[in-house]
Symmetry: C3
């Protein structure tokens, strides 16, 4: 499989996803053998316009596991000391002469698309703007479900927390909608529910979904619980009571309601959504997600570097 740029979740068709996950499985073997030196002549540029050490480390770890080299900045907005105001496009064209692939974290929606339009080397979107895309996060989430549940077809997933603003949840719902017989439970206070555009997409593709507010009711029925943060400051802004947040908190007691083989996922950082006492339960999959993130990114780098 050969991909060009990795810009948004929407570019992945079902066959591409299947092929990507097969490649990711092979990366797992490469990783277990301690990596390769296949890319010892390749350079990845981490071009970050905002700090996101987690995502940066994950990509750089992937590149090192492939034997490659890394140029790295989390201050791409000060790319030159001479003058501020260089366009993203010019910076991308310059970096194209320094590296073989660009991993771009931009602060504006559409930044990755603009970069890809002018780049002479592959661009991978590592997040662009608050409402923008973060496709590699969605892919690693999907891959974690695939590895944990053994299949995606027919999987029942509860998406929990702030579903209105969370790009992670929106992208994941979008990707899950591509698979047959998936059931999605959107579990959130009413003012944090998923937006209509995603529901329209799911309806159009005949995906079963249900809007819920009671987490306890949903838990026994699902294969996967995907928890995300509800920001306390947003709660009061939207006129919800602060206690509402506790209804979505997962501790040992709540965990007991989940099937024994279910997965508890979270995009991290986890603040007050999941009790650390749950971490040692085999269902807690959030740290495994970060491991899968390295594997998915290895596969994506291989796909674009050839």
């Amino acid at each position: 499989m050969r991909l060009n740029h990795i810009i948004e979740s929407q570019q992945f068709t079902l066959p591409t996803l299947v092929e990507l996950f097969e490649l990711t499985d092979r990366m797992e073997h490469t990783h277990a053998r301690g990596g390769t030196q296949d890319y010892h002549n390749k350079i990845m540029a981490s071009l970050f316009y905002e700090h996101s050490t987690r995502t940066r480390f994950s990509f750089e770890s992937a590149m090192y596991r492939l034997g490659g080299n890394v140029l790295s900045t989390e201050r791409a907005n000060t790319f030159s000391s001479v003058a501020a105001g260089e366009t993203l496009e010019d910076t991308i064209r310059v970096v194209g002469n320094y590296a073989d692939v660009i991993v771009l974290r931009h602060n504006e929606v559409g930044g990755a698309q603009r970069a890809a339009a002018v780049s002479t080397i592959p661009v991978i979107n590592a997040g662009d703007g608050k409402g923008g895309q973060h496709p590699t996060q969605a892919l690693l989430d999907l891959y974690t479900i695939y590895k944990g549940v053994k299949t995606i077809e027919g999987v029942k997933v509860a998406l929990v927390g702030n579903l209105t603003d969370g790009r992670t949840v929106r992208s994941l719902a979008y990707l899950l909608g591509k698979f047959d017989r998936v059931k999605l439970f959107f579990v959130a206070p009413s003012s944090f529910q998923i937006k209509q555009d995603i529901l329209d997409y799911l309806t159009k593709h005949n995906v079963w979904f249900s809007l819920e507010s009671d987490l306890k009711k949903v838990l026994p029925e699902v294969d996967v619980v995907y928890s995300t943060r509800i920001e306390p400051e947003l709660l009061t802004q939207k006129g919800e009571r602060l206690e509402t947040i506790s209804k979505y908190f997962i501790d040992d007691n709540i965990l007991k309601l989940m099937p024994r083989s279910a997965l508890l996922m979270h995009p991290l950082p986890r603040l007050h959504e999941i009790s650390p006492s749950v971490d040692s339960d085999p269902r807690a999959a959030y740290f495994r997600q970060t491991r899968n993130g390295v594997l998915i990114r290895m596969a994506l780098l291989v796909s674009v570097l050839g």
Copy 2:
């Protein structure tokens, strides 16, 4: 060829330049083959006292193409958490025990010279202070002319923009003056013209030059146009009218005045000096310059590392 420290343009004699460019040509082949692993046991320290991600990436890309490793900081002024105020000399001696070559960006004129005086390993100046030297930029500019025009002897170059303060232009004029039958056109508003010290140097070495203010008049006659920024805030400070800047702006119409085989160069970042519509013209050489920057720096690293 074996160099010790790379501190200033003045240290390069004509034979050294010729030898350096031959080595750079060989680096182009190395680069095309995807690099080497010749320096897999070598460490380059990027010691930057100010942010300049472009220059840093260019050097680090060069070191990776040679197979080497990189220590990197753009906050060398906080070299220790214990106390501020360590001398540059002490820092350099310490880094000499961590690396095999230091690439130094310092914020004071003469910083590179001070570093070289005490360093146990080679120091390469990556810019020292506003009025200081940035020899590798001048060398990559010269190499771009050499590759684009096929020769430097007899070349006709228009240097355009803020020639008073631009260290890039001053260093390039200095290096060009070493070659036979070169003709230099300094094109700028009168309050931004090149300083007398450069003119004295050119006169002394019998280099032909001309002071101009009308870009359109000069364009048809030259092999190379080297455009640089005139800062709008300086214009008003120096009592020039803001519209003056538009007389040095290069767009498709202005480009038509240049010979078909001429080169349009710029040290970047480009803000309002050159229209992006010009980028796809084969004469636009500014992105090629950044590629040549990696090659020149590979050659310089090889020269000092042996």
Copy 3:
């Protein structure tokens, strides 16, 4: 020898120290040969919650000399762009999926211990908090004495400067106390003397020590002078006169009082404790210390990576 985490000086028994120094001697040969590629599949994460480029570079240089790769941040407190407030424990578990060893610089005493408690990969403490531990600094100091004096047993060491707050001096005193017939001279103004807990430890282990304030008196008697900074602002805070500082300043005249084979050490950065005119004297060992720092860290990395 196989170590797990490197957290504090106290974990090193006398036999472990001896074994570590033998391994460090072998690293010196590896280093002299230009390093190895033994760890080309290994990744070290430099996870720094505060800036300390010197320590970071030293560890990263060690990892590169072993052929390994490095993930690096000096802004670990902004590990995620999504939200502040992730626990150290969660960050450590995540990084455990990106790397094979974590070098941690934390801003709180006990940070390294907390990290080691949850980490799935080895953690090396690169300093935790003002009053905390910095065991690799103490080890490189001890190794420098071992190499310079040829033995540690029976060595006579003057520890000079701010002994109350200096964690370097406290850790070194602790480690020296493990060896037979060592004599320690604590040389400081009375309000900067070593604390009672260290003296109790030395008494318990039958280590000879003496509290002194006159540097000139002590110098002729010792094999090693370990100088540290007395912060001028602390002097006045503690009611000492500012001139006191000059009594601990070492220049050419003071140096003459030291035996010809003695060592003058300093943890660096050196500000006003030692005159630069002394640097070229063979007794000046402070830059050699930084070289030994790389060797010790190579040995420690080998010990934990296996």
